[in-house]
């Protein structure tokens, strides 16, 4: 999905390293939501298969409560986002859309920052809309945790750089 710098189209190069806007981040978030749903579906299938193997004669499809589904969904989303941001700074949706989450030093955020950002994004997803209002394309999570979501079509993470309008390194 990503490419070396020499293979990035010339028309996309000026945007590399800049903060992404709301549409790109919403598409990436939607893809991540699909991933979480797939994870939940997989977990449900695994649960059902385990029940069937445990007692085939009395098998019936598990019917989890709505609260359990919501809690499981939140936990799965938090775990998924935390691991992805901490490891590479990008989730599957970010990778498809050529985005990357960076910390204040321009690198992948730390574990605490990733976990806090994941929890906030899971509980307050509407905070993403602040990206459109913000002059610097920052969501509420970015403002609270001093992170940024930038265009980065390359495979390797970018090094920190002080931007013209960012003042300092991604804050």
């Amino acid at each position: 999905m990503t490419a070396p710098a020499s293979r990035i189209p010339s028309e996309a190069r000026p945007f590399q390293g800049r903060r992404a806007g709301l549409p790109s981040r919403m598409i990436a978030g939607s893809l991540d939501g699909l991933v979480v749903v797939v994870l939940l579906a997989g977990a449900y299938c695994a649960w059902a298969a385990s029940v069937f193997l445990w007692s085939p004669a009395r098998f019936h499809l598990p019917a989890p409560s709505r609260l359990l589904v919501v809690v499981a969904g939140c936990l799965a989303a938090t775990a998924y986002l935390t691991v992805c941001w901490r490891v590479s700074g990008r989730t599957y949706g970010d990778q498809v859309m050529g985005l990357r989450v960076v910390g204040r030093r321009g690198r992948a955020p730390g574990l605490i920052t990733s976990l806090a950002r994941a929890v906030f994004c899971t509980l307050v997803p509407i905070g993403l809309l602040w990206t459109a209002v913000s002059r610097d394309n920052r969501s509420l999570a970015d403002l609270l945790l001093r992170t940024s979501v930038v265009y980065d079509w390359r495979t390797a993470p970018s090094r920190a750089h002080v931007g013209a309008t960012g003042g300092t390194a991604p804050t």
Partner: protein, 308 residues
């Protein structure tokens, strides 16, 4: 050959006789020439192999004629010797009879030459005396009989030349063909011709430039070649040499990569459109698209200068 060593073989006897005759003839020629040279405050004597000298008034045609006769006799002698050697299977030997003929011919030629010289001198003297007579001086031209004789001689020479040419035209192909049939030209060329030197001097590039490759290709029976090929094994080897799954992966990846790049660029443009719309709603100054708002990685100018 010395006369003191007496030969016993018949051929050797004939050789000795021929040598004696030839030597006698040459001695007579030399004596005569010496006498004439002394009379004319003579010049140096000729060598042993030179033509018998004349007396200065002798017609050169006689000497030339004798040269020709001697050449023919020598050629005939050499040919006869070669034929005799080839037929007998031994080494060619020189025939004493031929030497005798040459010696006799030399003596006869000398005698004839001298008689002709005397007659020529006498004829010239008589002709000169007659031409100086008062009534005939200036009126006596070349005799008509001599002119007719010279004309006849020219015609005979022309006819002889034509006959000789026809003879050569008839004989040369037949002789050449017979000779070539008896020669192993391949072995002859292989043993006696420096093929490497010849090939080294050949301009192969020029030959190749003149070669009509298309014409050569048209003469090739491709169907026959293809029929002799095991296309199945060749195809299998080609497929084995090609990483077909990798090609499929790359092609699929390039297609999906193109789609992803399109979606990304569309989203980037959508981001800019949303930012502009929000700026107009909140009455902000619209963002400058040329401003470098890079926060991570190389600045926009470096991206623009990066080679594609």
């Amino acid at each position: 050959m010395s006369t003191s060593s007496l030969p016993t073989e018949p051929v050797a006897v004939l050789d000795s006789a021929a040598d004696v005759v030839v030597a006698a003839g040459r001695r007579a020629e030399q004596n005569g020439a010496a006498g004439r040279s002394a009379e004319e405050n003579g010049a140096a004597g000729p060598g042993p192999d030179e033509e018998p000298p004349g007396d200065g008034r002798r017609d050169p045609a006689v000497a030339v004629l004798w040269r020709v006769v001697r050449l023919v006799l020598e050629a005939a002698a050499g040919s006869a010797s070669a034929v005799d050697g080839a037929l007998s299977g031994g080494r060619p030997t020189r025939s004493a009879a031929v030497d005798l003929m040459i010696g006799g011919g030399a003596v006869a030629g000398e005698v004839i030459g001298r008689v002709a010289d005397r007659l020529t001198v006498a004829g010239r003297s008589i002709g000169a005396g007659v031409s100086r007579l008062p009534l005939i001086e200036g009126r006596l031209g070349r005799p008509r009989a001599l002119s007719l004789l010279a004309e006849r001689g020219r015609r005979e020479r022309a006819a002889a030349t034509a006959d000789l040419e026809r003879l050569i035209e008839a004989l040369v192909p037949a002789v050449t063909s017979a000779v070539l049939d008896r020669l192993d030209l391949t072995a002859l060329v292989r043993d006696r011709v420096a093929l490497d030197l010849l090939v080294a001097r050949v301009d192969i590039d020029a030959v190749a430039a003149r070669l009509d490759v298309d014409a050569v290709a048209r003469r090739i029976d491709l169907d026959a070649i293809v029929d002799r090929l095991d296309l199945v094994s060749l195809t299998n080897r080609a497929i084995d040499g090609i990483d077909l799954p990798e090609i499929i992966r790359e092609s699929t990846g390039s297609i999906s990569g193109g789609m992803v790049r399109g979606v990304r660029m569309q989203s980037v443009h959508a981001d800019q459109a949303v930012n502009g719309l929000v700026s107009r709603l909140f009455r902000r100054q619209p963002p400058d698209p040329e401003a470098d708002t890079t926060v991570v990685g190389p600045p926009a100018t470096a991206w623009r200068e990066m080679p594609s």
